[in-house]
Symmetry: C2
Subunit: 331 residues, 2 copies
């Protein structure tokens, strides 16, 4: 007698080998929040350095891969001999996704790209302007990673054929991303303006991209690098704000704070302290990934804590002195 | 009795509506040949202006779509009211493809990206460096077009899933390009570093991209904007170099100079005067497109002659005072 096996609703994944980590570079962490289209160079440099340390085993920094002319220089720099000395360029299988921060946000909100429709001239103009702004940031991040010797390649969701329908991903060609990883590169994706089958166009956020990529590529862990230490019970600037260190996700998707033991149940609904959604949204997104059995670490970028998270040091147990939020599936 | 119809080898084209024109912005025309990674701003501006005149019927310049911060400014500029006045943003169905010129060339040649393999550290580094350089140029061209009010969107062949096998295109997802055009945008593609199934990676040239796009999208005409007046019988700098005004392509792909009537048959083999291949290569590529019944105009960028070519003024007949080379199928 034959048993019908339960069919999965996900199409076949193009990822043939395991991914180690998907990293989100939060827009607030790598750009200057209050200055339009301004990168936080210091943080981006530090983040790139930590990514290199986590991805490339060699203690020596590999030769840089951004050979472009530097401003106020007339020369391009590349030393081929340095590459001859590299016996291997083995590099951890990471996918990087970044937000927009002070890039793209102005253009998108001014024009209403997130809700369409495209036949409205202002929306069409905003679509073009938003893509110019976010791809400018993408190029700079690819550059920063390449300077550290990470073989990064920029991949815009718009170009990669990501579409939405009613703002939910309806189609995403992951084969290019998988092929890039299989060939030893680090794909760098970003929140982008994309076509939407119902409303014409929308903004596809970095967080939604990560959820989608996680579902198909099943990374060992996911790291969200932000500008605060993790998820708090209220806006982190408020006195007495408590860092939620561990959140457990149940099989039905519900979640609860395991650590610290809170005396009063926290009022999460009022604490909508960031622009992309409140704590609830943030935890719900992380919980969706955690439900796949993938640990999610939310941690302040460019700190010793983020390096431990990127290294995968937290997979067995979370040390008491680690500052950040772990969202984890509890079977 | 049934007759078997001849089967075409081309997969189904995603282009559902006719394309008016594919334009190649030659690398030599839009960049400064002798200065590394330097755009020829004056030519690029003029080319963008002519493209806008050819694509957008309205005599008034539409509002700009690059709202990014200008250097040394702290503000982003966008005037939403200007868009409210636009009753329509109708725009000719053009595809723009550009070469690399002084971008990418150094990085590619220094590392041997065109021949692979990717497991060689220098090639891998060069792949990353080449992509950074050519996408930098792509972004600047998208910006220049957007400033003219052309709804341009950058699309890298690498991200769009273009692969080669033995340096010939083996797979190219044209649906993203078609979808962008159908949504009223102008895709801007470029010569790029891509994966090759046999040798690991290679350089996919802008000219090969155009041939491929032309075969599937069947544009009304194709324009190559270069830094010289057209194709000559010898290096154009040489005294007595003769501009070949009309080249006829026969059904078997062979071609002959129709205008001017040359006294001696020209020695094309010795005249390999540019880096991407000699005259023969250039004409052969144009001939392949012409064989599809598509007129090809090779003309100096940013001149009155290029504007007439972009406008499609030459489709019925070529005026005697037009300077350039027409490559045309003669049935």
């Amino acid at each position: 007698m034959e048993h019908k096996t339960q069919q999965t609703t996900l199409p076949l994944s193009p990822f043939t080998q395991p991914i180690r980590c998907i990293v989100k570079l939060g827009g607030a962490a790598i750009t200057c929040k209050n200055e339009l289209e301004m990168i936080n160079e210091e943080i981006l440099h530090k983040v790139s350095e930590q990514l290199r340390q986590a991805m490339i085993a060699s203690s020596e920094k590999p030769p840089g891969m951004d050979w472009s002319k530097k401003p106020a220089s007339s020369e391009i720099f590349c030393d081929p001999e340095k590459f001859e000395d590299c016996s291997s360029m083995e590099c951890g299988r990471f996918i990087v996704v970044h937000g927009a921060g002070s890039f793209g946000h102005f253009q998108a909100s001014k024009s209403g790209v997130h809700k369409g429709p495209l036949n409205k001239p202002l929306v069409k103009g905003g679509f073009v302007a938003t893509r110019i702004s976010v791809t400018t940031l993408n190029l700079e991040i690819v550059r920063a990673l390449a300077r550290e010797g990470i073989p990064s390649v920029g991949m815009s969701p718009f170009s990669c054929g990501w579409f939405t329908s009613g703002r939910h991903i309806s189609s995403a060609d992951l084969s290019s991303v998988a092929k890039a990883i299989d060939s030893g590169f680090t794909p760098v994706l970003h929140g982008d303006a994309v076509f939407d089958e119902i409303q014409g166009c929308t903004i596809l956020s970095g967080d939604v991209i990560i959820s989608h990529l996680a579902a198909y590529s099943k990374p060992e862990y996911v790291v969200f690098l932000t500008d605060v230490c993790g998820v708090y019970d209220r806006p982190p600037m408020e006195p007495n704000a408590i860092l939620l260190k561990e959140i457990a996700v149940a099989e039905d998707g519900s979640w609860s704070v395991v650590k610290p033991k809170l005396q009063n149940s926290i009022e999460l609904t009022v604490a909508a302290h960031d622009t992309t959604g409140g704590i609830k949204t943030k935890i719900s997104e992380a919980a969706m990934i955690a439900k796949l059995g993938i640990d999610v670490y939310i941690v302040k970028a460019a700190t010793s804590h983020s390096l431990r998270a990127l290294n995968g040091d937290l997979r067995s147990s979370i040390p008491d002195d680690w500052l950040g939020t772990v969202v984890r599936y509890s079977r």
